[in-house]
Symmetry: C2
Subunit: 132 residues, 2 copies
DNA sequence: ATGATAATGATAATGATTATCATTCTTGCC
DNA sequence: GGCAAGAATGATAATCATTATCATTATCAT
């Protein structure tokens, strides 16, 4: 981790983005984040938001998940988890299932893969939308 | 499935796309498919390829997987499976792990979700790229 | 303070995808 | 087979998230 930090310039803009994300439990896409920052008096250019997110993600300081054709970013301080996505309202919930993680390692091994990461999305209707 | 078929017009273009995909084990994005069709003497307009893929996918006649910001399409005749993706060469391999499927159902239930689908991608280096 | 390098912001450019529209095709009915 | 309604097609314009460009500014080590 020290090595990664040494490779990233933590400019004030990037620090603003990092703090904002770390202070929240949500999954942000670039545009949403830019708007939220602006609403809280911290306007950062949209290009810079994209670049900042990419740099922080690359450095491992935030985490990302690809949902559809867009990436969403979240706090990296959490224990690894995966996502339940409501196809109706877009709600994103998190879950941890150690056994699944384990089985993934096994699958990779069986297929001669050296895992660098994974992404598990479970799509469906959340509690709220089921009753609608 | 009968219901789904009744909702899709199986035009000659869509049939061409369906047959092409079913005759292959690969994961196609729209542009690749359009080019391959054209190379085999069956030119279909790019807009029509996109629309055809979307319609066939919606009808359940082909399957899709979101990789990065693009969707890829494959034969739907297979037993459900998930994917190992090599981050180096882009190779896509398939795997089936019944226990993971089961645990996903459990996770969903525990979170009050009614599953409609899921997507599991394991990223890493394939056998070939590990030894490079 | 200086210099080298990287970041910023506004905006043009990019590229996958979708909308538009005139034309063609499909399907059910007679 | 003909007809009508509705959907599909293809070329291309439009869309939109994202990235490139470029002049300017900021960062960081010396």
């Amino acid at each position: 981790m020290i090595i990664i930090l040494a490779m990233l310039k933590l400019t004030s803009h990037r620090e603003t983005i990092l703090k904002f994300i770390n202070a929240s439990n949500a999954h942000w896409d670039a545009e949403e984040l830019a708007r939220a920052l602006s609403d809280s008096g911290k306007t950062i250019g949209i290009a810079t938001v994209y670049r900042g997110l990419a740099a922080l993600d690359e450095a491992g300081l935030i985490a990302s998940v690809q949902l559809g054709d867009r990436k969403r970013y979240e706090c990296a301080d959490k224990k690894h988890h995966d996502h339940l996505v409501c196809t109706e309202c877009g709600a994103i919930e998190e879950f941890v299932q150690a056994k699944i993680e384990q089985l993934q390692e096994q699958v990779a091994k069986e297929n001669g893969f050296e895992i660098t990461g994974h992404q598990l999305l479970i799509f469906g209707l959340c509690r709220g939308c089921r009753n609608a």
